[in-house]
Structures are given as structure tokens and as C-alpha cells.
């Protein structure tokens, strides 16, 4: 199976690798994993509590090229978006952008989960009530 050029580009030049201060009130952290392939993905966002704009996003992913590319793309996309806009990102958008083959769709699902998990973590810190969608995605099996 060949990776698309976009996947290779993100894999070779991942955007926004790194981490943010987990303890910062304005930082939301999402840690998700895909047990079938053993990938783990951490996505963090620094969110302005007034404007609800995601001012910074970092990721660190241990996994295959598609998982790295999906999370790299996710950080690129959420930067500058509001929390609500970021929550609207669907894994299918990532699949389309990166031309992921069917066997790699779970990588994009992981990235979407990571976005939702990070935002839900931030909301929890900010004392906001968990929204229906956030609690749905953080609910375990």
C-alpha cells in the first residue's frame, strides 16, 4: 500500500509536534489510542477562555504514518478555530484530505477522538458542563 503525497509530507514534516503544559487551566489534553494497531495519540490545545479560539495546538503520536499525518493535520486545522468549529471536524474530512485507504480510516477516527477528548478536558477544567457530544465521545465502550 502506498501512502499519498500528503501523508508523506506530514510524516516527514509533522506540524506542531510537542506538548503544552498539562496543568495550565487553558490547556485541554486528549490522549487516545487504537488498540488494534497499538497507536497512541496525544493532542493538546491552548484555548482562549474569552474568545473560545484555539490559539495553539500540539501533538505527539506514536504510530504509523497515517496516524502521525492525521494528528498533524488535525493540529493544523484546529489552530485559529473556535472550540465549536473544531468539534465540527469529522474524521471523513481527514480521510478526504489525506486520501487515506480504508484500512487506515481508524487513524482519522483517532484524530477526531483526540480533538473531542482535548476539548472535553478543557471544558471540564473550565467548569463547563459536559455537552452531549463530548460525553458521548469520552464514554468508554
Amino acid at each position: 500500500m502506498a501512502y499519498s503525497d500528503k501523508v508523506i509530507d506530514h510524516y516527514n514534516n509533522p506540524r506542531n509536534v510537542g506538548s503544552l503544559d498539562k496543568k495550565d487551566q487553558n490547556v485541554g489534553t486528549g490522549l487516545v489510542g487504537a488498540p488494534e494497531c497499538g497507536d497512541v495519540m496525544k493532542l493538546q490545545m491552548k484555548i482562549n477562555p474569552e474568545t473560545r479560539v484555539i490559539e495553539d495546538a500540539k501533538f505527539k503520536t506514536f504510530g504509523c504514518g497515517s496516524a502521525i499525518a492525521s494528528s498533524s493535520l488535525a493540529t493544523e486545522w484546529v489552530r485559529g478555530k473556535t472550540v465549536e468549529e473544531a468539534l465540527a471536524i469529522k474524521n471523513t474530512d481527514i480521510v478526504r484530505e489525506l486520501s487515506l485507504p480504508p484500512v487506515k480510516i481508524h487513524c482519522s477516527v483517532l484524530a477526531e477522538d483526540a480533538i473531542k477528548a482535548a476539548i472535553s478536558d478543557w471544558k471540564k477544567k473550565a467548569g463547563e458542563e459536559q455537552t452531549a457530544e463530548a460525553s458521548a465521545t469520552s464514554a468508554h465502550s
Binding site: 488498540p35 488494534e36 497499538g38 497512541v40 505527539k60 480510516i105
Partner: protein, 257 residues
């Protein structure tokens, strides 16, 4: 892998020689398949019980049934290998050169199924994965398999320490840092032993739950028990795939793969 069965596992279905399984199939001992050639009941095996002609594969047959095995997880592996060799011999397309085209195709079909089935069942991990896939407990691709947060934390940390070692290795090579490399190798080797230890622990746990599963097969009303055991197996497999990746990654760093 072609797995269409997503219903609860119907134990012993299409499994004529299996007296182990207790539930609904006991009242109908063999699937009422009739031979395509002589029309007599074929017995459900590879060859017709009456006329000996090779039979088509039943649509929903599973790999256990192919070897006439109950869906046990602790299996007699040398016995399986022996059975594989016997069947390869019996089903080999060379035996059918003078047969009709239909029979030649059946031989091909059964031979390739034999290889798939053997590859899947001979390894305990792929065997349990197969069982869970058939039961719909474990799915390939898009489904969400949630891992417990503590496990994710742990795996992430292990990965990070491995990453640090990796970076130190690629940066700290030139001139003065010769000594560091030896130290690094020692650290990596230690990490590897640690991961391998964890892998061995999971495998031991899995083996214990394999035994538990096999016991539920003998229970006539074991559906709930089987479900619970399957969930346990699934969790262990998830944990195992993370650890297996760590073992592999550290092995790569040490130049062993």
C-alpha cells in the same frame, strides 16, 4: 481476512465430529447437507461420507469447523499441524487432475481455505483474534476500541522514554560522546527486557483466560459466561498490541529487526 459472522458464535455449527459443544446443535447432530454428486447426506466433511467425492465449502463455515475442532483456544498444536499435513495431502489439486472441472475447483477452494485456516489457528494470538472477530467482539477497521486511560498513560510514557533514547542516540554520536552510546544501549536493552517481561505477563494472563473460555464451552447455559470471557480476552489483546509495538520499536532501535 474474510469474516462475515457477526452474530454470537453458534458453537459447533457445521462441525460434525464435534461432541464437545453442548447447546442447540446437539439436537441436530449433523447439518443436513446432501452430496452434490450422489445426493446422499454428505456428513458435512471435506468428502462425501457416501461416495467420497469432494464437497463444496459450506457458506458460513469457520476455520475451527474446517479442522473439525471445537472452538477451543487451548488446542493441541502438534495435532493441528498433523491434521494440516494430512489434509494438504488429501485436498491437493494434483489429486484431482483427472476429475471434473467442478471438482478441481473445489479442491483448489478447499486447499486455499486449508492454508488460511491453518495460518489463523496455529498461532494462539491470531486464533483468539479470529474467534473474537467471528463473534463480532473485535472488529477490523473503523470501530472504536477504547483502551483504559491508565493503560494509555503508561504506554504513552513508555513510548516517550523510548523516544528520548532514540533522540539521544541520533544526536549524541560524534567524537566525545562515544561512552554515551554504550550507556544508551544498556538503557535500551533494559527497556526491552522490561517490555518483554510485560509481554510475557500478558501472554500468561491470556493463557489463563483461554482455559476459562474452554471451560465455558462445556456449559450448556454458558452464553453469559462466554460473553464475559470474550470481553476479558478483548481487553487483554488490546493491551498486548500496545506492548508488542513497544517491544518491536525498541528492537528496531537496537538494530535487531
Amino acid at each position: 481476512m474474510g469474516c462475515a459472522g457477526f452474530s454470537a458464535p453458534t458453537l459447533g455449527e457445521g462441525d460434525p465430529e464435534n461432541s464437545m459443544t453442548a447447546t442447540r446443535t446437539q439436537t441436530e447432530p449433523t447439518p443436513s447437507l446432501s452430496c452434490w454428486s450422489c445426493k446422499a447426506p454428505s456428513g458435512g466433511g471435506h468428502f462425501c461420507a457416501a461416495c467420497g467425492k469432494i464437497q463444496p465449502l459450506p457458506r458460513d463455515a469457520d476455520y475451527f469447523a474446517f479442522f473439525a475442532l471445537p472452538q477451543k483456544l487451548q488446542i493441541d498444536e502438534p495435532g493441528l499441524e498433523q491434521r494440516f499435513h494430512q489434509l494438504s495431502w488429501k485436498l491437493h489439486p494434483d489429486n484431482f487432475v483427472k476429475a471434473s472441472e467442478y471438482e478441481r475447483n473445489l479442491a483448489l477452494e478447499r486447499s486455499s481455505e486449508l492454508n488460511d485456516a491453518y495460518r489463523m489457528l496455529r498461532d494462539p494470538i491470531s486464533r483468539v483474534e479470529y474467534l473474537l472477530l467471528r463473534a463480532g467482539v473485535r472488529k477490523e477497521g473503523t470501530t472504536k476500541q477504547q483502551a483504559p486511560p491508565e493503560l494509555l498513560e503508561e504506554v504513552f510514557e513508555l513510548n516517550e522514554s523510548l523516544d528520548e533514547l532514540r533522540e539521544a542516540k541520533s544526536e549524541g554520536l560524534p567524537s566525545e560522546a562515544r561512552g554515551d552510546l554504550t550507556e544508551l544501549r544498556a538503557k535500551l536493552t533494559e527497556a526491552q527486557q522490561n517490555f518483554q517481561q510485560k509481554l510475557a505477563e500478558v501472554d500468561a494472563e491470556l493463557n489463563a483466560v483461554f482455559a476459562e473460555w474452554d471451560q465455558t464451552l462445556a456449559q450448556p447455559d454458558g452464553d453469559a459466561a462466554r460473553k464475559a470471557v470474550m470481553a476479558k480476552l478483548n481487553e487483554l489483546l488490546n493491551r498486548r498490541s500496545y506492548i508488542r509495538n513497544l517491544v518491536r520499536n525498541v528492537g528496531e532501535e537496537l538494530g535487531q529487526n
